[in-house]
């Protein structure tokens, strides 16, 4: 319980900027260790839609945004990465999209029937592993929320469903996480946000 409060503390101590745009409350945090965090909540339902991270590497070089929740829709511009190689759009796409009661992952472009997939939890590395019996897809992922709260992963809390070429994995949020999220939402609603359009920029 103490460690789950630690996360709330780091958010409290970070520098926050908030903005409401397109029906989303967008928050930008600069944490004490210099990492940047962006979260986007639905204004009406307070569902978390996007959470992405950006940090600098050892040499101080900026690296790209890393999505924890939500996904990036923009394709990289020609010239940079597009000149090298990109995953083809026909590959499985792994995204996380939470619901109120559960962590949820959606893997699109997976046409194989549900028997193909197997899911296991690796307690040592705190990872969840999806395997396919036809050796077409393999993914190892962790749940950063659970890591931050220091909670153990339970294999029994996972469930899988498959429809429309999409594999959906659910993990029931434990009570601690639900309590923490409620507090975080209460906290962020205290931050004063600027509406779209009211820029603090005096044109000269």
């Amino acid at each position: 319980m103490a460690s789950s409060m630690a996360w709330l503390e780091t958010l409290r101590k970070s520098r926050k900027t908030a903005l409401i745009q397109d029906g989303r409350r967008k928050l930008h945090f600069i944490l004490l260790d210099g990492r940047e965090l962006v979260e986007e909540y639905d204004v009406k339902t307070n569902d978390l839609l996007v959470r992405k991270w950006k940090s600098k590497n050892v040499l101080g070089r900026e690296v790209k945004w890393e999505f924890e929740i939500g996904e990036q829709f923009r394709r990289p511009a020609a010239g940079g990465e597009a000149d090298l190689l990109m995953e083809s759009s026909s590959n499985p796409i792994f995204t996380r999209k939470d619901t109120r009661q559960a962590f949820q992952w959606r893997i699109r472009n997976l046409p194989y029937p549900i028997e193909t997939y197997s899911l296991s939890v690796d307690q040592d590395t705190r990872c969840c592993i999806i395997r396919t019996s036809n050796k077409k897809y393999y993914k190892k992922f962790s749940i950063p929320d659970m890591d931050r709260a220091g909670l153990p992963l339970q294999q029994s809390d996972f469930s899988m469903a498959h429809s429309n070429n999409t594999l959906i994995i659910n993990y029931k949020k434990p009570a601690e996480i639900l309590a923490l999220e409620k507090q975080v939402i209460a906290e962020i609603q205290k931050t004063k946000e600027s509406k779209e359009g009211d820029m603090e920029c005096a044109p000269s």
Binding site: V58, L59, R61, S88, K135, Y138
Partner: protein, 466 residues
């Protein structure tokens, strides 16, 4: 079928890209044996045995990497191989040791101050070997497919399928990637790694599952296991970056403000201090090693007194690289003062230098150098012609004789000859004047040139001070 032959032709053209031949492209090293004795003709180097042996000793010092801030001066007449020795040292040091070559006049720029230019050159010559986490893709090539557009021109598109024991992924290839895949001759069954940020491909070997294919393969073909787990991995890679590169990364203005900052190319001293502290910290934690490199300043007499005094101070820093300078001046004025000094370098700096001197080449050495240059420039020459050219080199200068090689080759080709003969040499010798004949000519016909009415009294100085 037609398309496939077109592809062939294209491929051949891509592989045989001609490298341009520079003045020192025949130099491949210092030409020393294990005991640091100079072989007479080796790795493109001829003669100058004493100077090369001295350079070899310096090289050992650099390789050990313990001693910082030593300075070496290579002094000698024009055309005695000073730059060649420096280039040979650069070649012998290999890829991982930073080697920066600048000319003395390069620091005089309107964009930045002299000391800033020198500091940047210094910091370019210090490497930091550090672990950095990068995303790599590691897998076995299942299929590689490259399509040429139907019109024949335009960008190529391609697909690459990679797999591990657990999964398979299709990648869309960009033009750069296609180029490097064809250059590395990657084919199905190879196990490769691709650095995602830089696109660098590394061939690890062939998959064991392909071991029974009836492939023509060399004895050095290595068989490796197909990788396990996910295709994309984070891996720690050790690489060398220079201090200047780290400076540049960290001095960029962040965010949209970068659009408005006038970038003069100068780096703030605070940034440098911060980086130095960071590097010292990494070094203590054992995260990084310092690789002191070499800064080579050619035509060092072009530096002025302020730069020299800056060098004095910079060499005392414990992060300083080994400094190699070259000059062809004797006792001359120090730029920016009215004092005379050997090599145009102030005595206090000279005192810190180890001086290597080069001597003029003898006839035999000249002939060997010309022979090496003929090979490098792909010119066939008869023995007689080479002897004549050597005599020319002896009487005029080595550089002039080298210039004549390609010119003579063109003349011989125009008369449909296969080899350069004495007549061709004679022809170009009469066509192009060397420096002494040109001076002679000027002395005779000075009256007929423009602005002759101006009294040339002050011209004897020959120094061009600005």
């Amino acid at each position: 079928m037609a398309a496939s032959t077109a592809q062939k032709v294209q491929e051949v053209r891509e592989v045989t890209r001609i490298e341009r031949i520079g003045a020192h492209s025949h130099i491949r090293g210092l030409g020393l044996d294990d005991a640091l004795e100079a072989r007479n003709v080796s790795q493109g180097m001829v003669g100058q045995t004493a100077a090369r042996r001295a350079a070899g000793v310096i090289l050992e010092m650099i390789k050990e990497g313990k001693i910082a801030g030593r300075a070496v001066l290579i002094a000698g007449q024009p055309g005695t191989g000073k730059t060649a020795i420096a280039m040979g040292m650069a070649q012998a040091l290999g890829q991982d040791t930073p080697f920066t070559a600048i000319a003395g006049s390069e620091i005089f720029s309107l964009e930045m101050s002299k000391t800033e230019a020198l500091t940047q050159a210094f910091r370019r010559s210090i490497g930091i070997r550090i672990k950095e986490e990068t995303e790599i893709i590691e897998g076995e090539v299942v299929e590689i497919q490259i399509d040429r557009p139907a019109t024949g021109t335009g960008a190529k598109v391609g697909k690459l399928t990679l797999k591990t024991t657990e999964m398979e992924t299709v990648y869309d290839l960009g033009t750069k990637m296609i180029e490097s895949l064809t250059k590395e001759k990657v084919q199905a069954g190879d196990i490769i790694t691709i650095d995602k940020a830089t696109g660098k491909i590394n061939k690890l070997g062939r998959s064991f599952t392909r071991a029974r294919d009836y492939d023509a393969m060399g004895p050095q073909t290595k068989f490796v296991q197909c990788p396990e787990g996910e295709l994309q991995k984070r891996k720690e890679v050790v690489h060398t970056v220079t201090l200047h590169e780290i400076d540049v990364i960290n001095s960029r203005t962040q965010g949209f403000l970068a659009l408005f900052s006038g970038d003069t190319g100068e780096i703030k001293p605070e940034v440098r201090e911060q980086i130095n502290a960071k590097v010292a910290e990494w070094r203590e934690e054992g995260k990084a090693d310092i690789v002191p490199g070499v800064l080579f300043i050619d035509e060092v007499h072009m530096l002025d007194i302020e730069s020299f005094s800056f060098l004095n101070r910079a060499l005392e820093d414990d992060m300083a690289p080994v400094l190699i300078m070259a000059t062809n001046r004797g006792i001359t004025r120090i730029r920016g003062t009215s004092y005379q000094s050997p090599h145009g370098i102030p005595l206090d700096l000279l005192d810190r230098l180890l001086i290597i001197s080069t001597s003029t080449y003898n006839e035999k050495e000249l002939k060997q150098i010309l022979n090496i240059r003929c090979e490098e420039e792909d010119v066939e020459m008869t023995d007689d012609a080479l002897t004549v050219l050597t005599r020319i080199g002896l009487e005029t200068s080595l550089r002039y004789a080298i210039q004549l090689i390609t010119a003579a080759n063109l003349v011989s080709r125009k008369r449909k000859g296969t080899e350069v003969e004495v007549d061709d040499i004679r022809r170009v010798y009469s066509l192009f004047l060397d420096e002494s004949r040109s001076t002679q000519f000027l002395k005779e016909y000075q009256q007929d040139f423009m602005f002759n009415e101006v009294d040339p009294a002050g011209d004897n100085d020959e120094e061009m001070d600005t």
